[in-house]
Symmetry: C2
C-alpha cells in the first residue's frame, strides 16, 4: 500500500498516563490538557484563541495497527465489528479525532479540553469546527 509521512506538530501534556486509565471519549470525564507545539508551526497556530471550538487530530502511537476487527468498548457481550465501524484507537492508521474547546493560549502552548488522549500523544493537525451544532 502507498504510504505518506505524517509529522508531529506538537504533543499532548496530560495527567492521563496510560490507555487503561483514559476515558473512551472526551465527554466521558476526560481532563483538560496542554498542547505544546513545535516552533516550526508558530505561524499556523497564531489565530487560535480562547473560546474557539476545534478538532484536534492526534497520532495514537500506542495503538495496535494490525487490528481489523474489535469488540466495541472491549465488551465480550458485543459482537466484533470492523474497526472502521468503531472509534477504537487500534486501526491501520491510528488517528485520533477530538472535538475540544480552546481554554487558554501561551506562546507555543494551548490549553484545551476535554481531551481523552494520553500524555505524550503526538498532535498532527488542528482544524476549526465548521458548524458548532453539527460537528464533533
Amino acid at each position: 500500500m502507498t504510504s505518506f509521512e505524517v509529522v508531529s506538530i506538537g504533543s499532548v501534556e496530560s495527567p492521563l498516563i496510560d490507555r487503561v486509565q483514559a476515558p473512551r471519549q472526551g465527554d466521558e470525564g476526560a481532563p483538560d490538557a496542554w498542547l505544546t507545539f513545535e516552533p516550526a508551526v508558530a505561524d499556523a497556530i497564531r489565530d487560535l484563541t480562547p473560546g474557539a471550538e476545534v478538532m484536534v487530530l492526534t497520532w495514537l502511537d500506542r495503538a495496535d495497527r494490525t487490528v481489523l476487527r474489535t469488540r466495541p468498548r472491549d465488551d465480550p457481550a458485543r459482537p466484533a465489528l470492523g474497526v472502521f465501524s468503531t472509534r477504537s484507537p487500534d486501526r491501520p492508521n491510528p488517528i485520533g479525532l477530538h472535538r475540544v474547546r480552546v481554554l487558554a493560549t501561551d506562546g507555543l502552548r494551548m490549553l484545551v479540553g476535554p481531551l481523552e488522549a494520553v500524555d505524550g500523544t503526538p498532535v498532527i493537525d488542528i482544524k476549526p469546527v465548521l458548524d458548532q451544532a453539527t460537528e464533533r
Copy 2:
C-alpha cells in the same frame, strides 16, 4: 520533528478531477463518490452499511505542506490566518475530514456522498459519527 508512516487504505473515484473545480466543502454541491478499498482492509470495512453516517479521512496529496498562513477561500479581502484556523488543504499534514453518508456497498467498494475530495485522493481512515446531531 518526529514522523510516522500513514498508509493508504483505499482511494476516491470521483467526477471531480482537479482542486480548482472541487467545492470547498461537501455540502457546497459536491458529488457522490466511490471509495475503493485495499483487499488488506476487507475485514475492517465489513460492517459499514448503507445509511450510516461516517467521517472519511483522506490524505490530500496535491496540497502544499509548506503553507502556514492563508487567506480563507482565497478571498483577497480577508486577512491571512494561520492554517490551523482554516480548513485549507494546504497545511503541514494535509488530512481531509469529510462527513458523508454511506449510500451503497459492493465488496471492496463503497458509494458515499457528498464528497469534495478529487479523483484519486488516498483514503486513510473511516470512523463512525458518534453523535448524529453534533458531528461533521
